[in-house]
Symmetry: none
Subunit: 227 residues, 4 copies
């Protein structure tokens, strides 16, 4: 009315910051809920509510629930692998130590964070959204497997690791990680603290055994039996 010009910097600044933050808040809320309840059981209204906006607003930013889901996946796989790769190449210790290092870094940055929920989510919904799954496989899994492959090759090249078929050996490293993420987001949530198992100790033992095996004896000279 009679107020000539409202201070444009303060108000509009706060508002536009809010506005630009919207998609991110929605993605965070959606991540939480998708991980917690699955795609089908998550209602868009809940997502909107948790992000503090109305249902209509969500559809302003994402044209459908499925697109929101895709965006959540895409948003949470920001190329973490590049920096990781660099760290690995700069690593100066033994390959055993590198393996240890990578496991704990993975735990810190992925395994223990919300990002782990994404993996569980994808594995759960892969059947319903193959395109999302194969997108994830290409963008995330393959990059991770490549990283693992490099670590193993490094160890084998230096003579520290035995020679094994890399295409299969990567799963020796991958399996304990995927298992831990899957477990903690499903069955693990049912009986939380019964035995007080800690992920850290789980990882320590997995890596230790991955390197040295269960056998107390010397390295095998004969191939194992087949049934």
């Amino acid at each position: 009315m009679s107020i000539p010009t409202p201070p444009p910097s303060a108000e509009s600044g706060k508002r536009s910051r809010r506005k630009e933050a919207r998609p991110g808040e929605l993605l965070d809320a959606a991540l939480d809920l998708f991980v917690e309840k699955g795609f089908a059981a998550t209602r868009v209204e809940e997502v909107a509510a948790r992000a503090g906006v109305s249902k209509g607003t969500l559809f302003l930013y994402f044209p459908s629930k499925l697109e929101l889901f895709k965006a959540v996946v895409r948003h949470n796989i920001a190329g973490r692998f590049d920096e990781w790769k660099l760290e690995m190449q700069a690593f100066e210790g033994s390959s055993s130590e590198l393996l240890h290092y990578c496991f704990f870094v993975w735990w810190e940055r992925i395994g223990s964070t919300k990002a782990s929920g994404i993996t569980k989510l994808i594995l759960s919904e892969a059947g319903n959204f193959p395109e999302v799954a194969s997108f994830y496989r290409k963008e995330v899994i393959d990059a991770g497997q490549e990283l693992i492959r490099q670590i193993l090759r490094r160890g084998m090249d230096s003579g520290e690791f035995r020679k094994v078929d890399l295409d299969y050996a990567i799963y020796i490293v991958l399996a304990p990680m995927i298992f831990l993420m899957t477990w903690r987001h499903s069955i693990g949530m049912c009986v939380p603290d019964e035995l007080e198992l800690t992920p850290e100790e789980y990882i320590r033992l997995q890596v230790d055994n991955m390197l040295h095996g269960l056998c107390a004896c010397q390295k095998p000279s004969s191939p194992p039996p087949t049934f």
Copy 2:
């Protein structure tokens, strides 16, 4: 084709024979669809159609979709562990061989069959049906873990395996199994034959490495570093 009339004797009592077969047919159909699409995305009408009956018929045998789900889980975990336990106790080879043996038996009886889909299903839906998940944990997971525990203890008692914390070590054995089931029913379905990896070879290498480790060197005397 040229057979004009199907043997009428076999047809007599067709209806009553079907009646006894119905629950099984429905459970099989439901297993397929639940595993393929998840609980929520599976429509009961689809289940009925795949079992060759109408929607209403399904509800003649199962009072609700959730009860159908529970029945599927229950039906597919019929006490397999008892015979398994006996086989294991009768086993006369080394503990390494026993571990090998168990893995391949597991693959034959569970891993490669539809039963593996159940595990994937449970892990996916655990968040939505905690009661089902904790039922499964008690009935299946715990029994499996006990079996693994016995194998490891056998090896440790005989001096064949190193001494490790059993509560964690069981996951050394469990993780590759769960991972394989999860993987094949999700991401693994997206890129089927790309690299021609076979589950058998996966298992062989996992067990081999589980026993002997990646390290070419002698057994460790010093604890691994922590980061």
Copy 3:
């Protein structure tokens, strides 16, 4: 097998008696359930079960649920009015006494029996099945009203009762009856014995007041006010 001829009279007699009793048993079961739960909330399977036959058998005797309903109504209004009429014509006491008498006879034969449920049922379902309702009105209500009309006329002719418009006066007698049946089969069932009101005392007081009115004073000479 080798038994030449089973006694046909005993066995087949029992069976055919059974067979002929079927519709009646079904009608009884249906009456109970329709009265108790209403038409819509009664499942034909329940009716069959209570009658001790299968669902299919019911449809052998009654082509549809609606026809069953109609049959129930028809079956339960057997011309009781004829004998009643005779009793009334033979009655030798005063008209007041006749009114009393009729009320208590009605209570004994209708009000306190399952037959009262029919009336309540018809009143409840009249909106859904007008044809049933108007059939009931013609066959039952009108006959009852005619009976009441005769009683009142008898009293007026003898000078025992005041002159009143018979078309309306019949409701003075009908209302307490219908009300009692309706009440006992609905609201009355919620708070059964709170005050220990007995139908007999209810009837006694209704008839008494119907005859003598609430006023302690003499009969009115002036018409009542209108608002």
Copy 4:
């Protein structure tokens, strides 16, 4: 037709005005249909359609069909009794006149309006929804009975009425009312104008007889006979 643009000012806020009107419109539609067809035979889609909205909209305001039913009952018994009580206490005529007055007021405000359908509805559905019935009994019936009780006590205290057992006498007043409501919403709808009976004349005669009785003779000195 020739009006090109409807006045925009009146249209502004149309949606929000409707929002406030919706529950009332739905309750009105539901009242009509429940009374007309009963609870079970009324489909929520019909209710919605009659209120001019879609099925989903109804569930925006009422979480289930049963809650809608309860709301209909609750909405139509808004404390009418308070004002009524005051009117009654302020009444200055004789108790006979008061009784007359109350009957006609009841007819004007309840009996002849849609509210009377509620009573019929409750009586019909009492068996299926005991909680609703007993809620209604407490909130409505009991309040009504209390009112009747006061009128009768007033007459008895002043010596205008004979002494009668109040617990039973209230039904002398209640029965003609309940009967009329039940009748008009059931059987009465089948043969609408056959005899041109008017509710007003029905009430007039009921009250008149309630006060003075059928007997042309003096007040009774001997108790009536029992059979």
